[in-house]
Symmetry: C2
Subunit: 332 residues, 2 copies
């Protein structure tokens, strides 16, 4: 090789080193998405947001993207996965609580009596949550979640719950991050149920997970060791109008992209839509009973009704799982 | 220039491009710090934390550093700067509140009667805070803070308050970030008073600012426009034991470095100290009445008493402003 050719090669290398990642990555960043309107709207939004010469350019520090978790990043049927964790914890803790054998809603859980459990309503759900999610230190709770999530299996798919994450959404998260977006979870689920595994599963670190929270208190032990105690009292419900409130509290910036799947995400999408510049509002519509589940306006879990109407009226992106996603789960 | 020399130059450029930043930066990252024990303890901590072969290595994602704001990153005398903002707002809003002319603590502020103001105590302070920091949308409040911080001057130094940030601490923040740390503010001040300017002044973005908060509610206007309303009710006081609680709530990881200056930071330092691996607990001790202020155990603002005892007992780093800092403010 001549020195001149060598020098030219080095120049090429230099140019490549300095080139933005997008130039090098010619492969499709969203391979599990069919080339329909949903995928096109995502790519068009990102191109507008990163085009520094365009009218809708979003400066890198403002590229905040917020995602609901249950039903948006992973499945939520036949019951919220966090609720499956709560039921497992009731069974594990039962030996220490003989009174649960005769007290609802615990009796229903121990008897496997789903009818009685449903009859306990929202009050019963909260009781189960408090009994299984509070009354320990934050470190102890994290350990319990970490052990459960590593071993528990989903009843239909007989796989760890963390394998029921949506492959197209993992690709979307990575695509956004490659284009300078900071990706957040903003979920109605409780925050410390998610943080132990979101970094590994979604690439979203604990400090970018926002959720429903319990009151926590600081205690300095007699041995001088401090701990944080989870108290049996809900601090804030991160759902519906609570989502924009918590986005402001935790992030302090309005998102430019928000993705949900239910009416619990409606206000987060409205709040996102009301900002200036490039915007993206998305909903995952569960339409595939064969590969996942099909439900919307009538569902008890993840009801999608008013938000679907507004999305259709305002041209927000509605992902039709059945037609927009080539693959739902990585294991398919 | 021969092509061979040209090629060699390109190779050098390439090597430089690929070299870690630390190799290029041979200059002292903390030039405003005298070469005493405080500076040495900082550098020793960072070297331990980033040494991937050492026993106290801290993986990059765990490099969380939390800083108090008032008295730690900028001055807090003769009154908290946020309180100066509240007083200015009372005067600006007075025409709309004729009743303030005869109602304490507002009358005291309008009359410039500091004795009566002090007599109103903590209850009076909270009244002033609520009257000036709530009752508007989040966007309106941000605008008010942004205008005030750009124009108000500190009574002693006759300069914008944002020039009363400590140059040695700015260098420390930058040094930590250059070594992969994520820098946070965890302040007793209210979060939305800080967020409009912390990115510009400290390089700390809004989503890394944690503070005292007010209850906020979501409202969809008759015109379909959503807003977040700041309600006259304190949500959470981010001070004392509230700091580790909020660190867990907002960040979800235990810091490896924490810096404060008062007993309000005591529990944050205890919580940080109780983790594994490399740790750094620091206190700014205000000892320089000539260049800044001198106060500790007897002060109403920024009292440093119990935390100072524990720092001395446990060998935490206590920065002696007078001897450890060559320069306090950039304008000196």
């Amino acid at each position: 090789m001549s020195t001149r050719r060598g020098a030219r090669l080095l120049v090429v290398c230099l140019v490549l080193l300095l080139a933005p990642v997008s130039l090098c990555a010619q492969t499709d960043p969203l391979p599990s998405w069919n080339d329909g309107p949903a995928k096109q709207s995502i790519v068009a939004f990102v191109q507008k947001a990163i085009d520094s010469a365009g009218p809708q350019f979003v400066p890198p520090e403002q590229r905040i993207a917020t995602f609901d978790n249950d039903g948006t990043l992973w499945s939520e049927q036949p019951i919220y996965f966090q609720f499956a964790f709560a039921l497992a914890r009731v069974k594990a803790l039962a030996p220490k609580h003989p009174e649960w054998k005769t007290t609802q809603p615990f009796k229903a859980v121990l008897d496997g009596d789903m009818k009685a459990l449903a009859a306990s309503g929202e009050k019963g759900m909260v009781q189960l949550l408090l009994a299984t999610h509070t009354g320990m230190t934050t470190d102890e709770f994290t350990k319990t979640v970490t052990e459960w999530i590593a071993t528990a299996q989903h009843p239909r798919f007989k796989r760890p719950y963390t394998e029921l994450v949506f492959q197209p959404m993992l690709e979307l998260l990575a695509y956004l991050r490659a284009n300078g977006f900071k990706t957040y979870i903003v979920s109605g689920g409780t925050v410390e149920f998610m943080r132990p595994w979101t970094e590994r599963v979604y690439g979203i670190p604990p400090e970018q997970v926002v959720g429903t929270s319990f009151v926590t208190t600081y205690k300095l032990g007699a041995d001088g060791k401090p701990s944080l105690l989870r108290q049996p009292k809900i601090d804030f419900v991160d759902d519906g109008p609570g989502k924009p409130v918590n986005i402001q509290k935790f992030i302090g910036r309005r998102p430019v992209l928000a993705f949900g799947n239910s009416d619990g995400d409606h206000q987060m999408l409205q709040w996102t839509a009301a900002g200036d510049g490039a915007r993206f509002m998305g909903l995952v519509h569960h339409t595939d009973a064969a590969r996942e589940w099909a439900y919307d306006r009538q569902s008890h879990i993840g009801r999608l009704d008013k938000a679907l109407d507004e999305a259709q009226r305002r041209g927000w992106t509605v992902v039709d799982m059945k037609s927009d996603w080539k693959k739902i789960f990585a294991f398919e």
